[in-house]
Structures are given as structure tokens and as C-alpha cells.
């Protein structure tokens, strides 16, 4: 197996981008990534595109072909494959591309992720997102996607004493980080009171505990490490890429205070990279809801199970804290165009490791981690990236 490096990154701004079409978004991110990598189109061997539900959000399927077309690569007939795993689509696309390069079958591979979610009205988006849950045994009964995380939140609060304020502090921190990120959907700072006074979506989760409906696209270019060494100045290699799956429904998993697939993926990823949780300098985790970030920092081994809320309260996950979490603003403030999220997380970590994160730069970040979840935990993808 070959070692794999990230040699280029590019993304659009995330937000309500009504003036831009899906194909414009995919093209913009892809072209930026290819330019950043300094790669000629002829050298690209394959393309993977993460996308959750273009069919329902914009009435367009077969989006892998759109990606190859907007990249100007259709005449070269390179293979382009769409990957779907709900909100983990981007992370799974990354994993597939990693496998392709590591195996030696392809050399240069572009990974994209995109979603255009704001073309449908409120209730429709809720129903589309509910398709990330079990349609027959969860959504059929009226359970929504925020509802699933609300069930985990109440359970976590009951079992460990995690408080509503601690949940709110996740959102406050991520909005602060988002205020330092020019690509973020929300760059306004908020307070704990703002979160607690916002409308309740699914008790105990308020509107400001939830990530937004977003449009956006992200892309990265992968290459064998040996090629990257000759080609790049700032080398970032992928030292682990692990995907783990579980039952789609929460009730089947019987675990409500964390995500077993994420715990499994993290353990395997640390082993693959030959490191431990304490070696991670910066992480982007899947904070689709504030409770998800608290469970993530526990599942990843940064804090003991049940201590995540306290860690947030004590500022340990802030930019200057023990382990800065979601320096980009996370899904909560950067935005969550579902198919793009897993790829955008990789971009934030690459920028941190290259020392290009501007005002949100974590000092001497050498090892970073991304954690991308599909549904309520049916899919989990963990990547570890390292400065070479």
C-alpha cells in the first residue's frame, strides 16, 4: 500500500447561495483545488463526489457526470463516481479516493463534495433530511433528524448531568471560530442566552443548537506521497482513513450516549496512524447538533465518556484550549451542505497543518483529525492528517 498526501484544496463560501447553481458550486471548488495542487487535467485519473440528496434538493441525479463536465474532464473520459452516505457522503468519498490512490490503481484523484439545500422550503428540507434516518421505523412515526439527536441529548443529560448551558457553549464557541473564517455561513458571535432563547426545534434542542441548511461545495486533490514530495512545498499526508458503519436506526444500536461506529473508527484510525488521542493537535468534528460535538469529543477519546460537557464549559475545546475543536466554525457556524461537509473538514485541517488558517491558526499544529457522521451514526468516517 502506498502513502497518500493531500496536494490541493478548494472550497466555495458556505451559506444561502441562491445566485449560484449546483454545477457552479461544484466547478468553483474543483477548479480552486486543481489550481492549488498545480495539476494539469491530463494527470487526473479519477474523481469521487460526495452528495446526499441532489435528486430531492434540486431534482438532479447523476451528479458525478456533472462534476466531470464542470471540471472540463469529460473529454478525457476519466471515471467519476458519486458517493452517498447521508451527511457522511464527503467523508466516504474521501475514504474511497484514499483507497484508490493507496492501492496504486489511480495516482491523482480529485475528491469533491456538494449540496444545494436552500432551493426547497422549510418542511421539505426536514423531510429530506429525515431520509438519513430509518424511513420505515423512525421517520414514519414522526421522528425528525433533530429529534434523533434530541433523544441522545436528553439521555446524555440524564445520565451524566450534561446541561443545556454546556450544549449552548458548543454553539457559542463555534460561532466565535466561524467569525474568524471568511468562508463561514455565520460570522456573527452569539451568547449562551441567545441559544437558550431561540425557538425549540426538538426539546431539549433549540434552533441555535442545530447546524443550518446550507449550499456549498468543497474539493481536495490526493496523490501518492512520493509524487507529493517532488511536487509540493508543504506536505500533508493522510496517516489514517477509516470508515465504520452501524444500524441506521438509533433504537437498534441500543447506545444513546455516543456513536459506536465513531468509537470504532477512531480506535482503528489511531492504530493505523500509530498515535493516541492525546497526540491530536486540532480536530474538526461532526457538530450537526451541539450534543453531537460533546459526544464526538468523548467518542474520539479526547475526554472520558460523560465529561465532554464539562470540558466545553472549562474552555478546553476553544482555539487556545487543550484540544481546539472545530476551528472552522464547524457545521454549526461554517455551515452544513451535507455532501460537502466531510471534504470541507479535511480542508480546514490541511490549512491548519500548512499554517494557512489565518486568525484561527492553532500554534504548531502537526497532527489533525476529522470526524464525519452520517445520519444518527449509521456511518462514521475518521481521517488523521499529519505534517511530513
Amino acid at each position: 500500500m502506498r502513502e497518500v498526501a493531500v496536494i490541493g484544496v478548494g472550497m466555495t463560501e458556505f451559506g444561502e447561495l441562491w445566485e449560484k447553481s449546483f454545477r457552479e458550486l461544484v466547478g468553483e471548488a474543483g477548479i480552486k483545488a486543481i489550481e492549488d495542487a498545480g495539476i494539469e487535467g491530463e494527470r487526473i485519473d479519477a474523481l469521487y463526489l460526495g452528495g446526499m440528496s441532489a435528486g430531492r434538493f434540486i431534482g438532479q441525479e447523476h451528479i458525478a457526470s456533472i462534476a466531470v463536465e464542470v471540471a472540463g474532464l469529460h473529454g478525457l473520459h476519466i471515471p467519476s463516481t458519486r458517493v452517498e452516505a447521508a451527511c457522511a457522503s464527503g467523508g466516504v468519498a474521501m475514504h474511497q479516493a484514499y483507497i484508490a490512490v493507496a492501492s496504486g490503481i489511480y495516482d491523482i484523484v480529485v475528491v469533491g463534495g456538494a449540496e444545494k439545500m436552500t432551493d426547497v422550503v422549510g418542511g421539505e428540507a426536514t423531510d429530506i433530511l429525515a431520509s438519513a434516518a430509518d424511513r420505515e421505523w423512525e421517520a414514519f412515526l414522526g421522528l425528525t433528524f433533530p429529534g434523533l439527536y434530541a433523544l441522545m441529548a436528553r439521555y446524555h443529560m440524564h445520565k451524566y448531568g450534561t446541561t443545556q448551558e454546556q450544549l449552548a457553549m458548543v454553539a457559542v464557541k463555534n460561532h466565535y471560530n466561524g467569525s474568524l473564517n471568511p468562508k463561514a455561513q455565520f460570522r456573527n458571535r452569539i451568547t449562551v442566552e441567545d441559544v437558550l432563547n431561540s425557538q425549540i426545534v426538538a426539546d431539549p434542542l433549540h434552533l441555535l443548537d442545530c447546524s443550518p441548511i446550507s449550499d456549498g461545495s468543497a474539493a481536495v486533490v490526493l496523490a501518492p506521497l512520493d509524487f507529493a514530495k517532488k511536487h509540493c512545498e508543504k506536505l500533508v499526508k493522510i496517516s489514517a482513513s477509516v470508515q465504520a458503519n452501524d444500524a441506521i436506526s438509533l433504537h437498534r444500536r441500543k447506545v444513546f450516549d455516543g456513536i459506536p461506529a465513531a468509537q470504532h473508527a477512531a480506535k482503528k484510525a489511531y492504530k493505523m496512524a500509530g498515535i493516541e488521542a492525546k497526540d491530536i493537535d486540532v480536530a474538526e468534528v461532526h457538530d450537526c447538533f451541539t450534543i453531537a460535538e460533546i459526544m464526538a469529543i468523548e467518542d474520539l477519546g479526547f475526554f472520558e465518556k460523560g465529561k465532554g460537557g464539562k470540558a466545553v464549559e472549562n474552555g478546553l475545546t476553544e482555539l487556545e484550549g487543550e484540544i481546539p475543536i472545530n476551528t472552522s466554525g464547524g457545521l454549526k457556524a461554517k455551515g452544513h451542505p451535507v455532501g460537502a461537509t466531510g471534504v470541507a473538514q479535511i480542508i480546514e485541517i490541511v490549512q491548519q497543518l500548512r499554517g494557512e488558517a489565518g486568525q484561527r491558526q492553532v500554534k504548531e499544529a502537526k497532527i489533525g483529525l476529522t470526524h464525519n457522521i452520517g445520519g444518527s451514526g449509521g456511518t462514521a468516517v475518521v481521517h488523521i492528517l499529519e505534517v511530513v
Binding site: G142, L151, H251
Partner: protein, 133 residues
């Protein structure tokens, strides 16, 4: 929400029919074809099992922002219920004041209308839960 997709599930939805693995004796709901504990050894050893319908609330949420089919029911309570047989079920809790509902509350299953396709469309029935005495 196509009719056929839900119609075929009706036996389990109406009667809380799950599965029992006769190798490890674990009870499952919704029904399974292969046991996740015993896997291949369980082939041919899975049989239907009717749940008693009695359980305990493990967690719950009050949904205030619902998909189109449920908008007129808002707010409503969805819970994770641990059944006496050990499996968990997602279900709505009805006939109950919100401030009565708590983790640890005993519930039993009842048969109710779940949703309807428009004002004159097909009506889907299934299980819900209410406070047990």
C-alpha cells in the same frame, strides 16, 4: 410517502410482531432475518415473536418542527422505549401531559392512526404508547 411501502409492513406495525433468535434467545424489533449475535448459526432459527407491548421510557423529545405530513400534530412526543423483552422501539407517546413524561416512566402500546396522505388519502395505522397505570 408511497402507500405500498407502508402497507406491506402492517403485520408488524399492527401487532408488534418482532423476532426471536432461538440460538441466543434475544428478541428483536423491528423483525430480523438474521441474528447480529449468532449470524450464520441463526439461519432457520429465527421465529416471529409477539411483544407484550410493555416498556419503559429511556429518552424522549417533543417535536416542534415537523415534516409536512406531521405539521398539524405539532407538538408531539417521540420516545425511545425499552421493551420488557430487552429491545428498543421508537414511538409516539399519547394521552399524556408533557410534564408527566419522564425517563423511567412505564408505558404500554396502543393502536392509533399515524399519518394520512392529504385530506382524502390513505390512512396509516400503527403502534403508539401511553402511560401505564
Amino acid at each position: 410517502m408511497g402507500v405500498a411501502r407502508y402497507w406491506r409492513e402492517i403485520p408488524s406495525r399492527y401487532n408488534l410482531i418482532g423476532s426471536k433468535c432461538n440460538v441466543c434467545n434475544e428478541i428483536f424489533f423491528p423483525p430480523i432475518k438474521i441474528c447480529p449475535n449468532c449470524r450464520r448459526k441463526s439461519i432457520g432459527k429465527i421465529e416471529d415473536y409477539k411483544l407484550k407491548g410493555v416498556g419503559t421510557v429511556e429518552s424522549f423529545t417533543i417535536i416542534r418542527n415537523a415534516p409536512p405530513e406531521f405539521e398539524r400534530n405539532v407538538p408531539y412526543v417521540i420516545a425511545l422505549i425499552k421493551m420488557e423483552e430487552g429491545c428498543y422501539i421508537t414511538g409516539e407517546i399519547v394521552d399524556c401531559e408533557y410534564d408527566e413524561i419522564h425517563i423511567g416512566m412505564k408505558v404500554d402500546a396502543c393502536f392509533r392512526r399515524i399519518q394520512q396522505d392529504g385530506s382524502a388519502g390513505a390512512i396509516y395505522y400503527g403502534y403508539k404508547f401511553r402511560k401505564a397505570d
